[in-house]
């Protein structure tokens, strides 16, 4: 029985084993490239994750800052309202020498405006005169300034000379 079996095996065609080709460089390169992309992708994702967290932190900080600024604004508004209260205004107005508005004040104001309207008739001539006056005063001021500057320069030169002599 054994022999027969042997014979059968002997008659069988020998199994052909394909010889495995050694891993080609192209394949290795491609794999490593893919791996690299994967790793880079992971790193990129991690970076984005942490960046988003950082942005979130920054964002919340800014939000907090905005809220603080808003509450500061509220406090400033409050301070302004306190400063604008009639009692405070009255105090400061009195310090500045203002007088309370009464009917007699209004009449004097009206009288002033009426006289002002009358005066408008000669407004052009007055304006010209005033312009001339202003121009003259400006000129004189410019001249004064120039003379002052000259004096200063002369003084500084003298000082320098004295220092050099010393």
């Amino acid at each position: 029985m054994r022999s027969r079996k042997i014979t059968t095996t002997q008659n069988r065609k020998p199994t052909i084993r394909r010889e495995r080709e050694p891993l080609s460089w192209k394949y290795i390169l491609l794999t490593s490239f893919c791996g690299l992309i994967l790793v880079v992708g992971f790193f990129g994702a991690a970076r984005q994750h942490f960046a988003s967290i950082n942005y979130g932190i920054e964002n919340s900080k800014l939000k907090k800052q905005i809220e603080e600024l808003k509450s500061d604004q509220g406090r400033i508004k409050l301070a302004r309202e306190i400063a604008l209260s009639p009692a405070e205004i009255k105090k400061s107005a009195k310090k500045l020498g203002f007088v309370e508005m009464t009917a007699s004040n209004i009449q004097s104001f009206h009288a002033e405006t009426v006289s002002g309207e009358k005066a408008n008739v000669n407004k052009a001539s007055i304006n010209k005169a005033s312009e001339l006056k202003v121009a003259a005063s400006n000129k004189s001021e410019v001249e004064k300034n120039k003379s002052k500057k000259k004096d200063k320069k002369e003084k500084s030169i003298e000082n320098k000379i004295q220092i050099a002599k010393k």
Binding site: S60, G74, E81, M101, A103, S104, I106
Partner: protein, 703 residues
Amino acid sequence: MPKRPKTNRKNAAKNPMQTIFTRFMFIVAIFILWIGGITVRLVNLQVNQHEWLSKKAQNQRRDQFNSKMLRGTIFDRSERALAMSVKVKSLYANPSEIEDIEGTAKTLAETLKISKKEITETLTDGKQNNKKFVWIQRKIDEDTVQEINNKLEVKELKKYDLPRFSGLYWKEEQKRNYPYKTLAAQIVGFSNADDVGQAGIEQSKESILKGEIVKSWQERDRLGRVYDESEIEREPPKDIVLTISNSIQYKTEQALEKGVKAANAKSGMAVVFDPKTGEVLAMANYPTFDPNKLNESEPETWKNKAIQDVYSPGSVFKSIAYSGALEEKLITPSGQIDGRKGYIEVGGRRFNDPHGAKIMTYSEALAISSNYAAIKTALGLGKDKFYNYAHKFGFGEATGIELPAEQSGVLRSPDKWNGDSLASMAIGYEVSVTALQAAAAYGAIANDGVRVQPHIIKEIRKADGSIISTTEPEKTQIFSAETARNLRGMLSQVVEKGTAKRAQLNGYSSAGKTGTAWKYDPAIRRYNPAKYVSSFVGFAPVENPSVVIAVVMDEPRGGARDGGQVSAPVFKEIAEQILPEMNVIPDGRISPQVLPDEDVPDTVDGDAFDTEVLEENSVEENASVNGELKTGKIEEKENKSKERLSEKEKPKIDQKSKEKLKNDKPPDEDKKSTKKRSAVLPNEKPKDEKKKKLTDERSKQKT
């Protein structure tokens, strides 16, 4: 035959590639098993235990907290904030996180300047009861917060939030501020520590001003830094714009305070009202309070007496009878009435009228505040018509102003009246009104018979400024424009010649009516002749009134007690200050001084409830004001000092006034003004003059 090579299985197994493959597959299998295990575990965690774990994770990184939106702002008509909320911080502790309670309490006591014992007790109690939230101090301002943060900093502690002190945290809250302090305090009202309105507009418009609670979440990393935030959006609260003008309110309050102090009154109230629009420009009460310092004020001062206190209007109510009679064509301002009897009996009761004991026109009768003429006019009008007119004027029902606890006053229907009720009501008794009701009623006279419902809210708007609603007041024609004109003319006579000379304005014409009434005392269940309510309700200018002002003084205890002497000067001061501000062009004579200082009698004029029954007590009452009798010595001293002053000041004043008059007016006017100045009260005029006037007037009427 060549021998075939023996195929040996052992040799085949020893093939290295095969071995590698087998090993690789083995490792792969292990990996698959491992990954499979992990997958099973993950599925178990993420599917079966999902909820429990997600909650746990959220609790670890997520903070949830509720915050209240800032309460709405209350503005005056010129956009000045009368009440506004500001964010502040409150310090709280988590006692379970504090190990050294004594040390913490000591540090806190030093920085917050509060007692150490108190903090120790709070923290110990919190720790024992396993509390996680205990207030340390609430509503601290920003400067103090920074100071506390600096003082409570422990550098070794790894804590992201301030203060860097274990177990201590800040919580954001809001604080209600009233920058104008006492200004319009009773109108604006106040809110409590939980920001719930307790009085005034704060209370009545709580639903509009209230800030909604906002839920928000914060996600934190392991260092406690916030990296994600989210919140449920809510509509912000609305702002309210009042009709009050802070400047007019201030001036009114100042004048009222001065008036109350001068009259030594218990309290005072004033209402400034625009008769055309129905806008309340000012509503003042004195004594008042600062809503920022509620602890330092008395609860009695929180009450807005101008709408919450009722009083007997006295002679102010006489205008109702006259307006009704004028409208019904029963009387004319120049028509005459014979009051020589000096009294009138109605329902078995005698009403005295010493001032009106003469033949006079109705205009004069109102000017001198004749009880006889008013009662006679009311009797002519009849019960029902009188009641109808009073009701049309708005008495007996709340005005509907947007303020809490407004009183409607008392105006009984005619079926509940007694025999003398009509007479009593004609002179302002058996009725009670609020100062606002009186102002609104006179507003109808000023506005050609159209009564405009008073209101104090101008508009309600969103936080971005867009208007949601504006108040449109109800307008009712209660009598004709002609009647209103006639009545205005009659009321101007009250100021020019009658009981309210002190209400004459510099630069403007004015009209109004004084009222002096005994106060109803609930303790004795009748009018107390020792206690008065003195009022003046007037408007200016007479022809085209821009403003109605009601001034009420409660229990004036100075020398003078009647409305003409106590309340009219307050009206004058308010009107003279606010009319120029309102750009009202002067229509009257402008002079530095309109009225010379008059000697004010200590007795009450015809305004008082002068009945026979009560007259018996009047002598004593006039002599003593609230039991305060002037001694002879004091009177002598006062008289002497007055004489000295008059001697010193007379020549100066005379010279000054003469100079001013010369400068200001033409010679013709000069004479007129001197005449006016030398004029005396109508009931003090010599008889010859009176006769002449009467004959003149009769001849005029005939023609």
